[in-house]
């Protein structure tokens, strides 16, 4: 039973490293990789995400019924249960669900990357500005960020989609607008702490322009937490898009998006349960993979950060 926790190696390890060879970067990377590798969950995450990426890449070429991807009608084989030909069964117009789930991976990847990418594109520069700029600038940016963060994310997304109209593009815009404040907060606090570091002062004292300081000194040091957050966010963004799809506000049928598929499958419970089950499992494993990977990255790169 663990009452004191596992203390790290003795406090004297600092002294022990004193006479050891100077820690070189290569050894540092190897140690980070070894830390990552030791964790079963992180490795599992890496495997899942890799599978996901591979499926997204080669999906259209490995599916048994490629014409079902965007909509074809084969009423003679509608709503068949899982079998050897149709591993996940068929839907109400006879399309092979396995095919659509696999193709859906590509859609999902595209959605996740777009949302996370857009959010970073808006959030990181604003965060840098807020962290490095004067008080007035920082306060105004942070106040707006706080207001955005005071609305539960999905509600705000629904409001935006409600305004723009349903559709996958609008859903992605909406979700990006929900996610960017997180990056602002992260980058702002990191930049704020960094700007007082001595090397920034040193750079400033020799006349480096603000631009240069931001790009060469501050931004690179923000990259680890940004990468960690981005990998965690991929999972959440995918969930968000699937949720909107489920509500009918995101991808519209017959788009092969997992959430939209579940939304239609809902009407066919319980007798034709496979329709909802498999896309849901796909979402679960994908998000799980990204979360585990994100955790592993965080433990490796930035152990002090906790979401």
């Amino acid at each position: 039973m663990n009452l004191t926790g596992t203390r790290a190696a003795p406090k004297s390890s600092a002294a022990g490293e004193q006479i050891a060879k100077p820690v070189d970067r290569f050894r540092e990377y190897r140690r980070m990789w070894a830390t990552f590798r030791r964790s079963y969950s992180s490795m599992a995450g890496l495997v899942i995400v890799s599978i996901f990426l591979i499926i997204s890449a080669i999906g259209p070429w490995i599916v048994p019924f490629p014409e079902d991807a965007l909509g074809s009608i084969h009423l003679e084989r509608k709503l068949e249960p899982p079998s050897a030909t149709h591993w996940f069964g068929t839907d109400e117009v006879g399309m092979d669900i396995y095919t659509r789930v696999v193709i859906g991976a590509r859609t999902t990847l595209y959605i996740g990357l777009t949302i996370t990418g857009l959010a970073m594109l808006i959030g990181v520069p604003l965060g840098l500005l807020a962290g490095v700029g004067n008080t007035w600038l920082r306060e105004s940016i942070m106040r707006v960020t706080d207001i955005f963060l005071s609305i539960p994310g999905l509600i705000l997304a629904i409001a935006i989609v409600g305004a723009l109209g349903p559709g996958i593009l609008n859903a992605m815009i909406a979700l990006s607008l929900v996610w960017w404040p997180g990056y602002v907060r992260l980058v702002q606090s990191k930049a704020l702490s960094l700007r007082n570091e001595t090397y920034v002062e040193a750079a400033r004292s020799i006349g480096a322009s603000n631009f240069r300081i931001i790009f060469m000194h501050i931004l690179p040091n923000c990259m680890s937490p940004i990468v960690v957050k981005a990998s965690m966010d991929m999972g959440m963004a995918i969930l968000g898009a699937a949720s909107l799809g489920f509500l009918g506000l995101g991808a519209q049928p017959p788009y092969p998006e997992w959430g939209a598929m579940i939304s239609i499958g809902k009407n066919y419970l319980p007798d034709w349960w496979w329709y909802s089950l498999f896309p849901g499992l796909a979402i679960y494993f994908t998000v799980l993979g990204f979360n585990l990977l994100g955790d592993g990255l965080r433990d490796m790169l930035d152990p002090k950060q906790r979401s």
């Binding site: 039973m1 926790g5 539960p152 999972g235 489920f246 809902k266 979402i283």
Partner: protein, 336 residues
């Protein structure tokens, strides 16, 4: 302490106004003509113009915002296109349902999550911890709506253990409305049948709604407990011979619970968003379902109202969390 509350309330009002501005801005980027939408598809151009003038939709945007704010403070949230009623009365009807659902869900998440997190820390890396961590990691990855559907399918349709949806059975009359929370109202009026039904109808939706929060709370609490158990004052307590139970449940927990509280607050916000999904699946008549139906039919006033109400709700909860923080951590109390 009173000063803290007063200050935060004032701050909250500013935040709410900011929130209204943002939501108002969003509503105005809507493509499509609100006057035409309100008039309906068969309206002639004159009718649309008339409605536009009636509703002041032809005035400049700032004026409209001010008018809008004025309306809000008077309780006028507009009219819903799809229910044809006052949004305000719709809110009064649907909000208590959501509130009840969320309260039970967050209650479950906290009452189960905190102890499980503690257990995970104490039994670190032994098999109970592995199971607990599995739940914690999975819970965040499971799509809430899908979980709801699966629960519905298996526990309701297949095993017939729980009702399919709604708040009460069709034949059961509603108890007198005192708080709007069915479980409370039925207890207060002594209506045991309604109470049982209300509880039974709440089980599956709250379970689905609570799972991500449960998972996050387990994770944070476990991590905080692990870190706290490593602290020097725990070593000192052990050196004095203080027993393991008291060390874990008092000395360590009271310190670890503070960041966990912050996560609970955050998760409450996500949960409010999740009501949209869970209410859809279980046909639960709350503001989430209301907002979804409005969004699908481009009915904007309800969406705005729900956003504001839930945003305000979230802010209130954060305030409560901050107060709890002050209550639990004497160092914070000294700074007030």
């Amino acid at each position: 302490m009173g000063r803290l509350i007063a200050r935060r309330l004032v701050f909250m009002i500013f935040m709410l106004v900011g929130l209204m501005a943002i939501v108002f801005a969003i509503s105005n980027i809507a493509p499509g003509d609100p006057a035409r939408l309100a008039a309906g598809p068969d309206a002639t151009n004159e009718m649309v113009e008339k409605i536009r003038q009636e509703r002041g939709l032809d005035k400049p945007i700032v004026t409209r915002f001010v008018v809008y704010l004025g309306n809000l403070t008077q309780g006028n949230f507009g009219v819903s296109l799809h229910t044809k009623r006052d949004v305000a009365s719709d809110l009064a009807r649907y909000f208590p349902a959501t509130l009840e659902l969320v309260l039970y869900a967050i209650g479950f998440a906290v009452l189960v999550g905190v102890p499980l997190g503690m257990l995970g820390a104490v039994f670190q890396n032994k098999w109970p911890d592995h199971w607990i961590r599995f739940v914690a990691v999975s819970g965040v990855a499971l799509p809430m709506f899908w979980l709801g559907l699966m629960l519905q399918w298996y526990l309701s349709l297949e095993l017939d253990l729980f009702p399919l949806g709604g708040r009460l059975g069709i034949m059961t009359p509603r108890p007198e409305t005192i708080t709007g929370l069915l479980t409370v109202d039925s207890l207060l009026t002594g209506d045991i049948r309604a109470f049982r039904e209300a509880v039974w109808h709440l089980v599956l939706p709250s379970l689905a709604l609570s799972l991500p929060a449960l998972a996050s709370i387990i994770r944070v609490n476990r991590a905080e407990m692990l870190e706290t158990l490593n602290k020097d004052y725990i070593l000192n307590a052990r050196a004095q011979g203080i027993g393991a139970f008291r060390i874990v449940t008092a000395y360590a927990l009271k310190n670890a619970i503070l960041p966990t509280l912050a996560m609970i607050g955050l998760r409450f916000g996500w949960m409010l968003g999740g009501t949209v999904l869970v209410e859809s699946v279980f046909d639960f008549p709350g503001v989430g379902l209301y907002a979804t139906k409005a969004a699908v039919s481009s009915d904007f006033d309800p969406i705005v109202a729900v956003t504001l109400v839930l945003g305000a709700c979230f802010m209130v909860v954060n305030l409560i969390i901050d107060l709890l923080y002050a209550l639990l951590d004497p160092r914070v109390r000294s700074q007030i």
